[in-house]
C-alpha cells in the first residue's frame, strides 16, 4: 500500500488538484441552478396556496340560528323549501322558481339557495394562510373591535361548490364551472382536431416526402411557426374563423343562429393552429427517432410502406408523439391572448353546451378576477389557479399513463 501511494505521489500531475477544484466548482454551480429552479417553483406554489386558504371575517345578513333551531345541513328538503318561502319576497321566489324549480333541487342545493338568498353572508375581511396560522388572536381581536356582528371562519376558497357553481359577481358565492367547462371543451376539441392532423403531417414529412428544397422550406417554416407569438394566431383566428368562416363557426349552416362566430369551435380551431406546429415537430422527432432497422425489418418481410408505418413506426413513435402532445396541450390550456381575440367572454354564466356555444376559459377568468378591486377576488383567483394546475396535472397524468402503456410494449 505504502509503495503504491508513493508511486501515485511521485507521479502526480501538477495541475490535478486544480482540475479537481474546477470540477467541484462547476458541480456546485449546476446544483445551484437546480436549486434556484426548484425554489422558484416552491415560492410560486406557496404564494398561490397562501392566497387560496385563510381566515375570513364573515357577517351574515340573517343569523342562521334564527331560521331554524338545527343546523341547515341537517334539515329535510321540505323544511328548507318552507324556510325559503317564508324569508324571501314572493317575486324573488318566483324568479328562483323560474330559474331552478325548487322541487327538483337536491338538499345540498337547497342549502346553498337558503344561504345565498336569506343568510347572505358577506366577507368583510379575508386573511392569507400564513397570517391565519400565526396570528389568529390578532384576527379575532380585529373582528371583535371592528365587526362585532361578524364571525371568524376558516375558509378554503377552493371547494366543491367553487367548482360546480356558475360565475357570480359576488366573490363569496362565485364558482368557476363555466370557465372550467369552457377550458375542457376547447382542449378536447383542439386535441381532436390537431392530433390527427399533426401526426398525419409528421408522417408525410418524415416517411413520404423526398428531401428536396420544397420540403426543406416547409419543414423550416413549421419550425418557425412554433415560435410565432400566440396573439398572432388570435388575429388569424379572428379573421378566418370568427369573421371569414362565420357561417360555419357560428353554426348557422346547421340552423343554430343564437350565437355569432365567437364560439368554442372558433377557439378550438385557433388553438389547433397554435399547437399544430408543436405537435408536428414533436411527432417528426419521434418518428425520426424510430430506428431505421425497424423499418428495414418490416420492408424486408415484404411489407408495404403503409403497413410499415402503421404497425411498426407509429407504435414505436407513439410515446414521443404523446409527450409532444402533452407539451402542446399544456401550452394550449394556459393560453389567454388568442382566446381574448376570438371572443372569450370575460363574464358569462351560461355553461357551454356544444361546439357553437359562447365560452370563457380559466386563464381569462383568473386574469379578470385579479383586476377587480375587492381583495376577496384575489383569493378566488388563487383558487382558480389551483384548479387550473390540477386540470393540467390530470391531463398530463393521463397522457403519461397512456405513454407508459405504449412504451411498455417496447421495454425489454
Amino acid at each position: 500500500m505504502n509503495k503504491n501511494n508513493s508511486i501515485f505521489e511521485s507521479r502526480a500531475q501538477g495541475n490535478l488538484k486544480k482540475r479537481h477544484r474546477v470540477s467541484k466548482i462547476w458541480r456546485s454551480s449546476f446544483f445551484l441552478s437546480t436549486t434556484i429552479g426548484i425554489f422558484s417553483l416552491v415560492i410560486l406554489l406557496f404564494s398561490i396556496i397562501n392566497q387560496a386558504f385563510g381566515y375570513v371575517i364573515v357577517e351574515n345578513n340573517v343569523d342562521p340560528a334564527s331560521l331554524s333551531s338545527m343546523p341547515l345541513q341537517s334539515l329535510e328538503r321540505e323544511e328548507l323549501i318552507s324556510i325559503l318561502q317564508e324569508n324571501v319576497s314572493k317575486n324573488r321566489f318566483k324568479t328562483i322558481q323560474r330559474d331552478n324549480p325548487v322541487e327538483e333541487l337536491k338538499r345540498s342545493e337547497l342549502v346553498g339557495l337558503v344561504t345565498s338568498e336569506i343568510i347572505k353572508p358577506t366577507t368583510l375581511k379575508s386573511y392569507f394562510l400564513i397570517p391565519s396560522l400565526t396570528n389568529k388572536a390578532e384576527i379575532i381581536r380585529t373582528q371583535q373591535d371592528e365587526f362585532p356582528n361578524a364571525v371568524v371562519q376558516f375558509r378554503s376558497w377552493i371547494s366543491p361548490s367553487f367548482l360546480t357553481d356558475p360565475l357570480s359577481t359576488n366573490p363569496d358565492t362565485t364558482g368557476i364551472r363555466t370557465a372550467l367547462l369552457g377550458s375542457l371543451w376547447i382542449i378536447v376539441v383542439t386535441v381532436i382536431i390537431a392530433f390527427p392532423i399533426g401526426i398525419g403531417a409528421a408522417i408525410y414529412l418524415e416517411e413520404y416526402s423526398s428531401n428536396n428544397w420544397l420540403s426543406r422550406i416547409i419543414k423550416t417554416n413549421i419550425d418557425n411557426l412554433a415560435g410565432i407569438p400566440s396573439i398572432v394566431y388570435g388575429l388569424l383566428g379572428l379573421a378566418i374563423f370568427v369573421r371569414g368562416l362565420n357561417l360555419i363557426t357560428s353554426g348557422a349552416f346547421i340552423g343554430i343562429d343564437q350565437s355569432n362566430g365567437r364560439t368554442i369551435l372558433s377557439a378550438a380551431l385557433t388553438m389547433s393552429l397554435l399547437i399544430l406546429p408543436l405537435i408536428i415537430i414533436n411527432a417528426q422527432e419521434a418518428i425520426r427517432a424510430v430506428p431505421s432497422s425497424l423499418r428495414q425489418a418490416s420492408y424486408g418481410l415484404g411489407a408495404t410502406r403503409l403497413q410499415t408505418i402503421w404497425y411498426h413506426v407509429l407504435p414505436a413513435a407513439m410515446p414521443g408523439i404523446l409527450t409532444g402532445t402533452i407539451l402542446a396541450v399544456s401550452r394550449a390550456i394556459g393560453e389567454t391572448a388568442p382566446l381574448i381575440l376570438v371572443g372569450a367572454s370575460s363574464f358569462i354564466n351560461k355553461d357551454p353546451s356544444g361546439l357553437f356555444s359562447n365560452f370563457t376559459v380559466l386563464p381569462i377568468q383568473i386574469y379578470n378576477w385579479t383586476t377587480r378591486p375587492q381583495a376577496e377576488f384575489r383569493n378566488v383567483a388563487a383558487a382558480s389557479i389551483l384548479v387550473l394546475l390540477i386540470v393540467l396535472l390530470t391531463l398530463n397524468t393521463a397522457a403519461i399513463l397512456l405513454r407508459n402503456h405504449f412504451s411498455k410494449n417496447k421495454a425489454a
Binding site: 425497424l294 424486408g300 418481410l301 411498426h312
Partner: protein
C-alpha cells in the same frame, strides 16, 4: 425450386449501382447458385452491402440510388417496370447486421410477416415450425409471449432469421449477421446457415474472413478500384479462394495484407 443444383438462381449481369452521380459498384457479373451459401467479402466501402441490398431492392429506399444492368431472379429482371419490389422482398428475405426484432412478443414477430402476406393456415404450427427451423424452438417454446427484446443477441438474430423464414422466401440475404454477436452465437448462426442451405439459397456479406471460409460454399471478393467504385475481383469456390486465390488482390486481402 428446380432440381438442378447447379443452376444459378440469381444472375447478375453488368451491374452498376449509383448514388446520385457516384458510381458505388461497377460492372459486376455474378451467378448465385441454388441451395448454396455464397459469401461476399471485401474491404469497407467496396460496395458489398450495396450489391446485397440490390438483390431485394432495399436500395430503393435510399434517395438517389439507381442501378444499371440486370439482376435476373428465375430469369426475370427484378428491376423491370412490371415487378413489384414488395413481392421481390417477400421472395428474397433479409437478415440485418444488428438483430432487429420487432418490439413485440416472440410469437408476433414470426406471425406478423406471415399474416401480412396473407397466410391462412394454422399460425401456431407455422410459428413452431419456423422456430424449429431457426434452431430456436427449444430455447423459447415456453415463453412465446415474452417480448422478443428480452432475448440474448444471438437468440434475437435467430429470431430474425425465423421471422424471415416465416414468409417462405427462396433466398435469404444476410448483411453481416454476426457482427454484433459473440463468437459462440456466431458459430450457432453459421451452423444454422448450413442447415438452412438445404432448403434455401443464402447470400452473406461478412467482414469476417474466417466466417466466409467456414460457412460458405462460394466466395466473391470485392474491392475498390481507383475511382473508389466497388468491383468484383474474384469469384469461385470458397475452398479455392481461401487456399489458392488466383488474384493477387484477393490473396493480399484474405491474408490480411490489404493496403
Amino acid at each position: 425450386m428446380t432440381e438442378n443444383k447447379n443452376q444459378p438462381i440469381i444472375t447478375v449481369k453488368d451491374l452498376s449501382i449509383f448514388y446520385k452521380t457516384f458510381r458505388a459498384v461497377k460492372n459486376v457479373d455474378l451467378e448465385i447458385f441454388e441451395n448454396k451459401i455464397t459469401a461476399i467479402i471485401g474491404p469497407s466501402g467496396c460496395g458489398k452491402s450495396t450489391v446485397l441490398r440490390s438483390f431485394n431492392r432495399m436500395n430503393d429506399f435510399i434517395p438517389g440510388a439507381s442501378i444499371q444492368g440486370n439482376i435476373l431472379f428465375h430469369d426475370k429482371n427484378i428491376y423491370d417496370e412490371d415487378v413489384d419490389p414488395v413481392q421481390v422482398r417477400r421472395m428474397i428475405g433479409m437478415v440485418f447486421q444488428k438483430p432487429n426484432p420487432f418490439p413485440k412478443s416472440i410469437y408476433e414477430n414470426i406471425a406478423w410477416g406471415a399474416k401480412m402476406n396473407g397466410f391462412s393456415g394454422n399460425m401456431d404450427d407455422l410459428v413452431e415450425k419456423t422456430l424449429q427451423d431457426a434452431a430456436l424452438w427449444d430455447e423459447v417454446k415456453d415463453e412465446l409471449n415474452k417480448n422478443a427484446l428480452s432475448l440474448s443477441g444471438g437468440q434475437q438474430q435467430r429470431l430474425c432469421i425465423a421471422r424471415a423464414l416465416a414468409v417462405k422466401p427462396e433466398i435469404i440475404l444476410m448483411d453481416e449477421p454476426c457482427s454484433a454477436l459473440d463468437p459462440i452465437a456466431t458459430l450457432k448462426i453459421e451452423d444454422l446457415m448450413r442447415e438452412l442451405s438445404h432448403n434455401y439459397s443464402i447470400i452473406i456479406v461478412t467482414h469476417n474472413m474466417q466466417q466466409a471460409a467456414r460457412a460458405s460454399d462460394m466466395t466473391a471478393f470485392f474491392t475498390m478500384d481507383e475511382d473508389r467504385a466497388g468491383v468484383m475481383v474474384e469469384y469461385g469456390l470458397t475452398t479455392q479462394i481461401f487456399t489458392n486465390p488466383k488474384n493477387k488482390q484477393t490473396e493480399d486481402y484474405i491474408t490480411g495484407r490489404f493496403g
